[in-house]
C-alpha cells in the first residue's frame, strides 16, 4: 500500500511524515510523529480529547485526514509551555485541581486557550458553552471552569 508524503509544521517545527490516505491527523500525530499528548477518546468528534489548532482554528484531529495537514500549521499540547515555563492555563489546572485522570486535559487546555485568544474575559457561562465539546468524566467541570476563569484573570493582568 503506497503511502502519502506530508510536509507540515507542528508547534513551530517543520516535520514530514508518511501516512495512509485513510489515516487521520490524530493517528499521524500519535503513531507517525509520536506526539502522544493528543488523545483519542472516541474517534468520532464527540469528546474533544484530540483537540488541536490547525492554522489557528480549533479542530478535532480525529475528524481531519492526515494528508489535509499538508502545508498547515498544527499546534498541540506539547507546544503549549514555553520551555520549562508552563502556560498560565496549565499552571492553573494543576493549582485548582482541575484535572484528575488527565486524559481529557490536553484537549481542554487547547480549547480553553483558543477561547481566551478570542475572548480574554469570558463569563462562566461562556466558558461552559465553549468547552461543551470537551468531555470530562472525572471532575464535573467545576474546577476546570474555575481554572479557566482564574487563568483568564491572570492573563489579563488582573
Amino acid at each position: 500500500m503506497s503511502r502519502n508524503h506530508v510536509s507540515t509544521t507542528v508547534n513551530g517545527d517543520r516535520v514530514e511524515f508518511l501516512c495512509e490516505t485513510g489515516q487521520t491527523l490524530l493517528e499521524a500525530l500519535r503513531d507517525e510523529l509520536r506526539l502522544t499528548g493528543t488523545k483519542e477518546g472516541c474517534g468520532t468528534g464527540d469528546c474533544g480529547a484530540c483537540s488541536v489548532m490547525v492554522d489557528g482554528r480549533l479542530v478535532c484531529s480525529c475528524l481531519m485526514l492526515a494528508v489535509e495537514a499538508e502545508g498547515k500549521a498544527i499546534e498541540t499540547v506539547e507546544g503549549m509551555a514555553d520551555g520549562d515555563t508552563l502556560h498560565p492555563l496549565q499552571r492553573k489546572f494543576i493549582e485548582h485541581a482541575a484535572l484528575q485522570c488527565g486524559i481529557c486535559t490536553p484537549g481542554i487546555l487547547i480549547a480553553a486557550r483558543a477561547l481566551l485568544a478570542r475572548n480574554p474575559d469570558p463569563t462562566e457561562a461562556e466558558v461552559r458553552f465553549w468547552l461543551a465539546g470537551n468531555l470530562c468524566r472525572c471532575t464535573g467541570y467545576h474546577k476546570i471552569v474555575d481554572a479557566v476563569l482564574d487563568a483568564a484573570r491572570e492573563m489579563r493582568g488582573g
Partner: protein, 764 residues
C-alpha cells in the same frame, strides 16, 4: 488485625492542606503516558472480531483466509484458550467466575451479546488487522434473545445458560433459569411492621444500564518472550488482579507475568476486569511479536461492562408521627451475559441509612443478552437508592414532614444494627443530614417550575491487601513505591502527604510512584474507595518503621540509649527530660550516614487493611422543568458528605463533584438503547450523551469529618458515595417542581414530556 493502626487526634501540618499533585505537570504537558501511549519495537496491532448477534450458537470459525492475508501474523479463537472450571475470585466489591472470564473475553459455545468477542487478529498495521477481521468466516445459528430483566425471569424466556439453576432457592429448582441467584436479607417481622403502619407507600421503578464512560478506551501492550515470560502494559485499576486473571486464563505461573500499570484515563469500576489483555498476550505468544490492542469507543460500549439496568419494587410503612415501621424491597438486576451483578451490594445498602426494626430485601441476579456488567462507582447502590429515597420522599410528603426531618427521625447512628450483619460503629449520617439542613441552599427561594430534592447515600468502603515500600535515599529524600493504583483521584499525593506528616518533612521530599507487579507483593485493586484508607494505612506503617530505624541509627551514632531519642519535625532530638542529651540530627544527616551505620533505611508494609469506615452523603438539588420540551435543567447542586478525614480536601471535593456529575448524567440522559434485534443502537458519545460543561452548574461541597476510629488519620474513603444520591435527589426535585413522581430512568426530555402530557390529559 494486630498491625492495624487506630485513630489518634493530633495537630497536623500537611494532612488537610492542598499541595500540588505529583502527576500534574506531566498531565498538562502531554507527557503522561496512558495505555495507548506505549509502543515497542516490532509491535503488531491486535483487533477483535465481535458477534453481531445478541444470542447465537457458534457452529464454526474459519480463519484461513485471514491468516493468508499478507501482514497477518496470528489469529486466536476459542480453540486457543483452555476450558476453565467454576472458580470464584473477588474483584472489587464483585465476584467473578473464571469459567465466565474465559468465555467473556472470547466466546466459546455461544455468543451471548452484541459485541461478544469471537476472534482476534494481530497484523502489521491497523488497516491490515481490520481487513483480516472481514476475512474471518463465522457460522452462527441465531437463537432467540432476551434483553429485559423482567422478561428474562419468566418461565419460557430464552435461556442464556442451559445448565444454570437458580441458587438460593430451596428445594433446588428443576428447570434451568436466567435467574442465577436469589438473595434475601432482613430482620424483624415485616408483616407486623406493615400492620402497625398508618401510612404505606409502594412503588415500582425501572432503570437502564449506563456505562462508566471513562474517556480513555481500554488499551494494552503485551510482549511474550520465547522463555515463557510475559510483560504487559495496561490501563487498569488493579495490575495485580489483572496479572492473576491473565495467569489463570493463559495457564501461566503468576510470577511469569509482569504488569506495569499505565496512567489510567478513568475507570470508575470499568477497569477492574481484563478484556483484551489475555488476548494480547496470547497473540504475542503466537506471533512472536509484541502486540498492542486499543479499543474503539464503539467497542468500549458494546464490549465492556456497563452497570446493570434493573426493576426495583419498594414498600415502606410509617406511623403518623414519622417512625418507619417496615421496609421491603425487591431488586431484579441485569447481570448481563454472565452472573455477577451488584445486586448483593444493592440489597445490603438499600435501606441501610435507616435504623429499622423490620426489613426484608430480596435480590435476583438475572442473566440477559447484554454485555457482562462491571462495577460502576458504588456498584448497584444508586439503583436501589433511587427507588428507596423516592419512596422516602413521598412518605415524608404524605406525613407532612420536612424530608430531612423525616430522615433524621429514622437515621442510622452508632450502635444501629444493620439488616445485613454488622452493627454500626462511629458513623456520620446524622451530622451529614444536619449539615445539609443548615446549608443556605436548603432554604433558598424557588421560582415557578422549579423544585428542590434531597436524597442520601451510604457505602461500605473496603480495605484489603495492600503493600508499599518507603526508601530513604542517600540525600534524605524518599521514594514511596505504592502497590495500589492511583486511579486519578490523587492518591499518590495523599500518600506522600501522610508520609511527610509522619516524618515531619516537606511533602515535596517524598516521591510517590506506583510500581509494577515485580516490585511489590499482591495488592487488591483500587475499588471500594479503599486506596486512601488501606494504602494510607500501609504508608503510615512504613513511615513509622523508617522512624524507628532512624531513631536506632541516631542512638548508635550519638551513643545514647534508644529511649532517649525522639523523632519530631524531621529531626532526631533528645526526649524532653530524657536520660541523655545530644545534638539533634536531621533526616538528611542520618540518610547520608546510613551506609556506614548499618545500610539503607527503608520501611515496608504488607497488610490486609481492616476496619474501613462507612461513608454517608446527602445531596440537595434544584431543578427547573421546561414544560414545553420536557427538559430538566440543574440549577444548583450541593453535596454534603462524611469522609472521615479529607487528607487533600481539593481532591476530596473533586470526587464529590465528579461523582455527582456522573449521577446527574445517569438521572437525566444516559441509557443503553437496544433494538428489537438485541443490537446496541447508541454505542458512541453522540447518542450516549454524558454531561458536558454547559449541562451543569457549579457543584458546591461540604466536607463532614467524623473520624474513622480504624485509621491513623480517620480516613473513611470518599469516591463512591457521591454517585448514589443524585438520581433520587433529581427525581424528588422534579416531583417538587411538577407534582410528577418519575419512576423510569432516565428523566430525559421525551420521558418527562410524556409524563407531563399524561398528567395534563388525566386532569382533563
Amino acid at each position: 488485625m494486630s498491625n492495624m493502626l487506630k485513630y489518634e487526634e493530633k495537630a497536623l501540618k500537611i494532612v488537610g492542606t492542598r499541595p500540588l499533585r505529583p502527576d500534574g505537570v506531566d498531565k498538562v504537558t502531554g507527557r503522561a503516558r496512558f495505555g495507548a501511549d506505549y509502543n515497542l519495537p516490532g509491535q503488531l496491532i491486535g483487533k477483535v472480531l465481535r458477534s453481531p448477534h445478541a444470542h447465537a450458537r457458534i457452529k464454526s470459525i474459519d480463519t484461513s483466509a485471514a491468516l493468508a492475508l499478507p501482514g497477518v501474523k496470528a489469529v486466536v479463537t476459542r480453540d486457543d484458550f483452555a476450558e476453565m472450571p467454576d472458580e470464584l475470585a473477588a474483584v472489587g466489591e464483585l465476584m467473578i467466575n473464571f469459567r465466565d472470564v474465559t468465555r467473556n473475553m472470547m466466546a466459546r459455545e455461544k455468543a451471548l451479546y452484541d459485541g461478544h468477542p469471537v476472534a482476534a487478529v494481530a497484523a502489521t498495521t491497523d488497516s491490515v488487522a481490520q481487513a483480516a477481521l472481514a476475512l474471518i468466516k463465522v457460522e452462527y445459528e441465531v437463537l432467540p434473545h432476551v434483553i429485559d430483566v423482567v422478561e428474562a425471569m419468566q418461565p419460557g424466556a430464552p435461556l442464556l445458560h442451559e445448565n444454570q439453576y437458580t441458587q438460593g432457592v430451596k428445594p433446588r429448582p428443576e428447570r434451568a433459569s436466567n435467574v442465577a441467584k436469589r438473595l434475601e436479607f432482613g430482620r424483624g417481622d415485616v408483616a407486623a411492621g406493615f400492620a402497625a403502619a398508618d401510612v404505606i407507600v409502594e412503588r415500582e421503578f425501572n432503570t437502564k444500564p449506563v456505562h462508566q464512560g471513562y474517556i480513555e478506551p481500554q488499551a494494552c501492550l503485551a510482549s511474550y518472550s520465547a522463555d515463557g515470560q510475559a510483560e504487559l502494559w495496561t490501563s487498569t485499576q488493579g495490575h495485580f488482579v489483572f496479572r492473576a486473571q491473565c495467569a489463570k486464563v493463559l495457564q501461566m505461573e503468576v510470577s511469569k507475568i509482569r504488569v506495569t500499570p499505565t496512567e489510567i484515563g478513568g475507570g470508575f469500576g470499568g477497569k477492574n476486569n481484563i478484556y483484551n489483555e489475555a488476548l494480547a498476550i496470547a497473540l504475542s505468544r503466537k506471533s512472536n511479536h509484541p502486540v498492542k490492542m486499543v479499543m474503539t469507543r464503539e467497542e468500549v460500549f458494546r464490549g465492556t461492562g456497563p452497570t446493570p439496568g434493573a426493576n426495583v419494587k419498594v414498600k415502606l410503612g410509617a406511623t403518623r408521627d414519622g417512625k418507619i415501621t417496615a421496609a421491603e424491597a425487591e431488586l431484579n438486576f441485569q447481570a448481563g451475559a454472565f452472573p455477577g451483578s451488584p445486586v448483593n451490594q444493592a440489597s445490603m445498602c438499600a435501606f441501610t441509612r435507616y435504623d429499622l426494626e423490620n426489613v426484608r430485601v430480596v435480590g435476583n441476579d438475572v442473566t440477559v443478552n447484554r454485555p457482562k456488567v462491571a462495577a460502576y462507582r458504588a456498584p448497584g447502590a444508586p439503583i436501589a437508592v433511587f427507588g428507596v429515597e423516592s419512596v422516602i420522599d413521598e412518605m415524608a410528603k404524605k406525613l407532612g414532614l420536612d424530608p430531612i426531618e423525616f430522615r433524621l427521625k429514622n437515621a442510622a447512628r452508632e450502635g444501629t444494627q444493620t439488616y445485613y450483619g454488622p452493627k454500626f460503629g462511629a458513623i456520620g449520617y446524622i451530622q451529614t443530614l444536619e449539615a445539609a439542613r443548615a446549608h443556605p441552599h436548603y432554604s433558598a427561594p424557588l421560582a415557578p417550575n422549579q423544585g428542590r430534592g434531597v436524597a442520601t447515600g451510604f457505602w461500605f468502603n473496603i480495605g484489603n491487601e495492600t503493600t508499599c515500600s518507603l526508601n530513604l535515599q542517600e540525600d534524605g529524600s524518599l521514594t514511596l513505591n505504592l502497590g495500589t493504583i492511583d486511579v486519578a483521584g490523587g492518591s499518590r499525593a495523599s500518600m506522600a502527604m501522610m508520609v511527610a506528616e509522619e516524618l515531619g518533612i516537606a511533602y515535596e521530599r517524598v516521591r510517590p510512584t506506583v510500581g509494577d507487579t515485580s516490585t511489590l507483593g499482591f495488592n487488591f485493586l483500587t475499588a471500594g474507595s479503599r486506596s486512601t484508607f488501606a494504602s494510607g494505612m500501609a504508608c503510615v506503617i512504613a513511615s513509622r518503621q523508617v522512624i524507628e530505624k532512624l531513631r536506632q541509627r541516631v542512638a548508635k551514632i550519638r551513643e545514647v540509649p534508644l529511649e532517649a531519642v525522639a523523632w519530631k519535625d524531621g529531626q532526631a532530638r533528645p526526649v524532653d527530660g530524657g536520660v541523655a542529651q545530644f545534638a539533634p540530627m536531621s533526616l538528611t544527616e542520618v540518610a547520608r550516614m546510613a551506609g556506614k551505620t548499618g545500610g539503607t533505611i527503608a520501611g515496608h508494609a504488607e497488610i490486609n487493611a481492616q476496619g474501613a469506615g462507612p461513608g454517608f452523603g446527602a445531596h440537595i438539588v434544584d431543578v427547573e422543568v421546561d414544560r414545553q420540551t420536557g427538559s430538566v435543567k440543574i440549577l444548583r447542586y450541593t453535596v454534603v458528605q462524611d469522609v472521615g478525614k479529607a487528607i487533600h480536601p481539593a481532591y476530596v471535593e473533586g470526587q464529590m463533584q465528579g461523582g455527582a456529575a456522573q449521577g446527574i448524567g445517569w438521572a437525566l440522559n444516559e441509557e443503553y438503547v437496544y433494538g428489537d434485534d438485541g443490537v446496541l443502537q447508541n454505542p458512541g458519545f453522540l447518542d450516549y450523551r454524558i454531561p458536558v460543561a454547559s449541562d451543569l452548574p457549579r457543584i458546591d461541597t461540604v466536607i463532614v469529618e467524623v473520624p474513622n476510629p480504624n485509621h491513623p488519620y480517620g480516613v473513611r474513603g470518599c469516591g463512591e458515595v457521591p454517585i448514589i444520591a443524585p438520581m433520587a435527589a433529581i427525581a424528588n426535585a422534579i416531583e417538587n417542581a411538577t407534582g410528577l413522581r418519575l419512576c423510569e430512568q432516565p428523566f430525559s426530555p421525551p420521558r418527562v414530556l410524556k409524563a407531563l402530557d399524561q398528567a395534563a390529559a388525566a386532569k382533563g
